[in-house]
């Protein structure tokens, strides 16, 4: 359903992503783990072209886009098939919760106000925040804001939702509610690509885990293999460091 071939990205002289290939099936949950600065977030941002790769191809929803020669129209087309949940929630601060969820449906998808409102209320109910529909983002906790941004992503019915370290900016006691929401989204059959440092969550939720190191895919496989039986030295080293650091 989503297929990335030979994706390369550089910032100036430094190579950030080096020949990334990835295939994601419908309804699959893929998690990227690895040390900071290895290009996990950059890869996610290349998928919806918030970063422009130097080369490579992506196939999504039946259409193939060549990164090297992608047009403005194709960029919008590709972005409209995806949605992203950001580390800092990135809600529109001058709009209410409901407007945040509605806006893209009206502006981008040209839905009627009534249809967008119904859809938005349903998605807000799904993340348990229909009571906050008329609140402004700054009136909510970080965890609630992140759940609104998940509802905003769901509301445009994307082919895939990209989660970029969705719990990294949260106070520890708020992480749980967001992970629970992501778990429910995954359970509903949505295709998900997730970048996270929440290792046990990654192990629970993922169909496949990709360990990235220095801009390359170092190892990929089912969560049990990566987390329990990795025979890859870098993966073992990273996970060992990670567990000693956090436990």
């Amino acid at each position: 359903m989503l297929n990335i071939e030979h994706l390369d990205l550089s910032f100036g002289d430094s190579k950030v992503l080096d020949d990334i290939n990835l295939e994601v099936h419908k309804g699959e949950v893929i998690t990227f783990i690895g040390p900071s600065g290895t290009g996990k977030t950059s890869l996610l941002r290349c998928i919806n072209l918030l970063e422009k790769p130097d080369g490579g191809r992506i196939t999504l929803g039946g259409d193939t886009y060549d990164y090297g020669s992608i047009t403005k129209k194709e960029t919008l087309d590709l972005r409209r098939k995806t949605a992203m949940v950001f580390q800092q929630y990135n809600l529109f601060k001058n709009k209410t919760v409901l407007e945040n969820v509605m806006d893209a449906q009206i502006v981008v998808q040209k839905k009627s106000k009534a249809a967008a409102r119904d859809k938005s209320m349903a998605e807000l109910a799904r993340v348990g925040l229909e009571a906050k529909a008329d609140a402004y983002p700054h009136q909510l906790s970080g965890g609630q804001q992140q759940r609104v941004s998940i509802a905003r992503a769901l509301a445009v019915e994307p082919e895939v939702i990209l989660f970029d370290e969705p719990t990294s900016a949260l106070d520890p006691e708020l992480v749980g509610e967001v992970l629970k929401t992501i778990g429910e989204v995954a359970g509903s059959g949505m295709t998900i690509i997730l970048v996270t440092h929440e290792m046990s969550f990654a192990e629970d939720i993922s169909d496949r885990v990709v360990f990235m190191d220095r801009g390359k895919v170092a190892e990929e496989g089912p969560p049990q293999q990566i987390f329990r039986h990795s025979n890859h030295a870098r993966t073992q080293q990273f996970l060992r460091k990670f567990y000693t650091a956090s436990h």
Binding site: L50, L76, R80, F86, N90, V107, V108
Partner: protein
């Protein structure tokens, strides 16, 4: 002898030019805002020589009194426009240039520099995150501008812009130097008719102050409404 009735009569006379003064100030505000937006945009492109030229112009406009600029334009604009139109074989009688136009041109240029600063500050207050959120949802550049950037930048820029409006209204008192009759000029005329200058200027001060109070109140209301619940 100070006569309160004369103050009242002058007040009524001066009120007659308030609409014209406000309109003039509004035109200048809008033009300087547009010019300021253009300056901000051009500066953001960072084109080497252009950037320096605009920098020097900004420093010149900031460092020169309005009254000097007004005279500069008053004497230079007819020459410049005659020369410019001459290029297209159109002849222009310099004396036909309207002094109101000269006031508008001068003040629009003067205040564009300040408007540019205001717009730049407002743009800085907008975080890039929201723009990325819009892009990630497939908003086009125009949609992002219209739905995300402009509504927030407008609110941020509103208090300073309205402050600039009050400054322009007051600065227009210089316009009488080139024969444009604003509030202050009208006060001089009214005072001259009956040699009751003190009463006329007291009335003028009250008119200016009244405008300031009403506008400040209206702007506060407007800003609160535009910000609605958000911080």
């Amino acid at each position: 002898m100070f006569d309160i009735m004369t103050v009242f009569e002058s007040f009524v006379e001066i009120l007659k030019v308030v609409p014209k003064t406000l309109l003039l100030a509004l035109i200048i505000l809008v033009l300087s805002f547009m010019l300021g937006a253009a300056i901000t945009y051009i500066q953001s492109l960072g084109i080497p020589v252009v950037k320096q030229i605009i920098g020097v112009l900004q420093s010149f406009l900031r460092g020169t009194p309005n009254v000097v600029l007004l005279y500069l334009v008053y004497y230079a604009l007819p020459l410049v426009s005659a020369w410019f139109l001459g290029l297209f074989n159109v002849t222009l009688d310099p004396s036909s240039l309207n002094s109101t136009a000269i006031v508008i041109v001068t003040f629009s240029i003067c205040y564009s520099v300040f408007q540019s600063e205001i717009i730049r500050g407002a743009l800085h207050s907008l975080d890039k995150n929201q723009i990325e959120a819009a892009q990630s949802l497939g908003y086009s550049t125009t949609q992002t501008l219209r739905k995300v950037i402009i509504p927030q930048v407008m609110v941020e820029a509103l208090p300073d812009t309205m402050n600039a409006f009050l400054i322009i209204i007051k600065a227009l008192s210089l316009a009488f130097l080139v024969t444009v009759v604003d509030i202050f000029a009208q006060a001089r005329l009214v005072g001259a008719q009956s040699f009751s200058y003190l009463e006329a200027f007291v009335a003028a001060a009250l008119v200016y102050w009244g405008i300031c109070v009403i506008l400040t109140y209206a702007i506060d209301k407007l800003e609160n409404r535009m910000r609605r619940g958000y911080a």
